[in-house]
Symmetry: C2
């Protein structure tokens, strides 16, 4: 059964895009088929894959509830719905309760047989993020093990709870500790908090590693740019952990 996963966190720069892109690529590497949807007007996921896009096609699809613009990319098993700045205007015009289901409707009409749909969300609680959450079967929250990171997670929980009437099955499937600095005491203190808030749902950590900061500049996921790096190792391991959980349940 197809899993639709929102990669979401209102807090900025915690590793949403890096996780969405690299988990999608790692799933493709283990033979899964993935549709990666870039839902951020800043188009970070698209840019990380070497794709510059206006976002106009995606904006059109959402406004008119037509099939999503899917493009092939040179990543095994992964296809992309790219985004760009035009979607920002969309964030202003796509307002109101009825349009919160636009993405769900678009997805239903989009032909393709993917094992996973992964949605990269922007760092704001607006129309786009709400659309993603309503369209999703699972939520994955990349987090940073810092005080502000922990606070962002608490606010995320509140936001998701408020959406449950519109999508009763909605729950946080996994917390991904990204950009981890394991030598810091604060890392372990905050990890304890994550583990007590979400027992059994905290994934293996993804370490802060230059390979992950550098890969977007080469337009490829880290398993293509630096396949022996810590960044590649960590995302492969997290992907296996996640796929295992999502296949069983």
């Amino acid at each position: 059964m197809k899993q639709v996963i929102s990669v979401v966190n209102l807090k900025g720069g915690v590793g949403k895009t890096t996780s969405a892109v690299n988990i999608a690529a790692c799933l493709g590497e283990i033979g899964k088929s993935v549709l990666l949807i870039d839902l951020d007007p800043q188009g970070s996921a698209s840019l990380s894959l070497g794709v510059e896009n206006s976002g106009e096609e995606l904006l059109f699809a959402l406004k008119n509830e037509t099939p999503l613009p899917v493009m092939p990319i040179a990543i095994t098993g992964v296809e992309l719905v790219p985004s760009g700045m035009s979607l920002a205007t969309g964030q202003m015009t796509l307002t109101g309760e009825e349009s919160n289901n636009a993405l769900t409707s678009c997805l239903e009409q989009t032909l393709g047989d993917w094992d996973y749909v992964i949605i990269d969300c922007p760092p704001s609680y607006g129309t786009l993020t709400i659309n993603a959450l309503i369209a999703s079967t699972r939520i994955v929250v990349p987090v940073e093990a810092s005080f502000l990171g922990l606070n962002g997670l608490k606010q995320m929980v509140t936001a998701i709870d408020s959406l449950r009437p519109q999508n009763p099955g909605l729950k946080i499937e996994a917390i991904l500790p990204c950009r981890a600095h394991r030598r810091r005491r604060i890392h372990w203190d905050i990890m304890d908090s994550f583990n007590s808030m979400f027992p059994g749902k905290v994934s293996p950590i993804i370490r802060e590693n230059v390979s992950l900061a550098a890969a977007p500049g080469m337009g490829k996921p880290v398993i293509y740019t630096d396949r022996l790096s810590k960044g590649a190792d960590d995302y492969r391991f997290v992907t296996l952990w996640l796929d295992d959980r999502l296949t069983v349940t």
Copy 2:
């Protein structure tokens, strides 16, 4: 003459809040008086100073164009306009061209004789950020020296250019390289790009340092929590550099 400074970047997690809070504190330490405005519904700046706030007072002030709710905090020379989740609802209701001047109007009515007003902006190009930019005399852009960080800066430039008709004096005063990893080659490559895009405007760097990730958890700026740390050194140095530039011009 009072300087109103927006600390802004649409890219998430680059160090806007960390910079706004710590530069404000460092300015207070050298005898300047500062009003720090938390304009982010996630209230990160407020939380970093140990203040939990609903954001209702700030929302009310912006909607009705009344004086801002200023509160004293135990930081020499610094007062705070706190924020919180209620401002998120505001982001939906405060729409339309005429409301882009709300913050400017509120500031004019707010009694107080500060050398600097520093505005911490959220990572989105919506009403709140536009209000900040229109109210400002100067823009400071914290950046991360990574590919996605450089791209965020380019998008920031485009956004600011589009606002110039409404605030002709608006220009980027400084680029602050935050969370810097000087041992990475990518750091120096991207720093070259920053320096060629903004010659003479790139501040001394602020290194990635645990002191800056830990300080918010203690509700104080780093010069109070860890005054001999690299984080404290770097922000003091950047503050002197910035104050010098802003006093001369």
